[in-house]
Symmetry: C2
Subunit: 111 residues, 2 copies
Amino acid sequence: MSRKKKPDIDRVFHALGDPTRRAILERLSNGPASVSRMAEPLNMTLAAVVQHLQVLEESGLIQTQKTGRVRTCHIEPTGLSAAIEWLTARRSIWERQLDRLGDLLAEAGED
Amino acid sequence: MSRKKKPDIDRVFHALGDPTRRAILERLSNGPASVSRMAEPLNMTLAAVVQHLQVLEESGLIQTQKTGRVRTCHIEPTGLSAAIEWLTARRSIWERQLDRLGDLLAEAGED
DNA sequence: GAGATACTTAAGTTTTCACTTGACAATCAG
DNA sequence: CTGATTGTCAAGTGAAAACTTAAGTATCTC
């Protein structure tokens, strides 16, 4: 039977919910970096950082590749698309709702 | 001394990471609704739904108010701003990075 | 006032998360 | 070859998250 798999958007938002992982993404925005380089400014063990990187990779936000003993991480530029689309869609609907509310208030004021 | 409080953006992304909570937000996009109405299509107890609503309210994504015995929930339209700003900022940086990569490849091709 | 309705609250359970420890594997430098 | 570097893996811990159950409190309806 079909296995239950988490939708991408769940994983993306979950990944973004952790400040350490957002810090990693911000660091990688300056360009690719190795695992231990990512770990330097983070106050935790290498193993913990690797786990964060796994979450980020599974969510499609970064990609990694190993050359020799060094694993290099870089941003996956399309990784944010689904999340941004969901958010901006909501926002435009919500703004429309606000407009309707404004209309109602204006009408009420005219009485 | 200053209390430790979770940054808004942490809470927003965390709130968005749960499919039930996104479903609630989508439902509320059609207009305000009471707690029990929100609970109807969700396969869980009322108490669980209330807890999700609390998370959403604390993250600034919705507001609620009680009139009589009914608590009505509605969208807080500005709640997504911080998240959208963070995401679009990253995206534009990432696209620039992609361009630079493109340039490098083009240069390499010219040899 | 007696029910029914619409939550609210507290406590307990199970699962998931973030992290550590410690042992291991691979690779590079002298 | 011998270390030192760079990362990997598995297991365990503690706390937070996502629920449930059950009892309680207003409020509305008759």
